[in-house]
Point group: C2
Chain length 100, copies 2
């Protein structure tokens, strides 16, 4: 099972994934992605969903038209693990190629 990252490991990991920050009041990381329109936003979500399902590690996310707010945490570990960093990294890569 993935273990909670230490504060230092987490700080370092966040440094490598632009836009992701600690979420206040929760042991989680988050990012708000803003796309051109709903087509791009949901395209991003679809690609991210396939990655998440394959990892068996799923996001908590909210979509309003062109905006996707993502929150990642590992329930079993009670905090942020390497799984969250991996999914966040994948999401950044997907957003990069999704945005026109």
């Amino acid at each position: 099972m993935a273990e909670r990252l230490t504060a230092e490991a987490r700080r370092q990991a966040l440094g490598g994934i632009p836009g992701w920050t600690d979420i206040q009041g929760r042991d989680a990381i988050g990012k708000t992605f803003v796309f051109k329109d709903f087509n791009e936003a949901f395209g991003f979500m679809t690609r991210a969903a396939l990655v998440a399902e394959k990892m068996d590690h799923h996001p908590e996310w909210r979509n309003v038209y062109k905006t996707v707010e993502v929150m990642l945490s590992t329930h079993d570990a009670g905090g942020v693990t390497r799984l969250d960093i991996e999914l966040a990294t994948a999401m950044n890569a997907i957003a990069k190629v999704t945005s026109s």
Copy 2:
């Protein structure tokens, strides 16, 4: 442009779409869909997204694993219109065939 439904028209419309209720504090309607797993939940979202895009009327929604919370409102009209009722009706139909 779609116009805000009267209180009576809205009450009647909600009677025809099981599970949808007024959202407290907002001029909107909402429903929480619970599926078997993420595959079903995101399958539902994907089908609903296609309908929403075709209608050019989009939901505000939040997904956590097998749960999808949906909030519908028509921004231009400042409240609930027939567009929201139509999308809610379509979502109920999609959820029915998506759930195993």
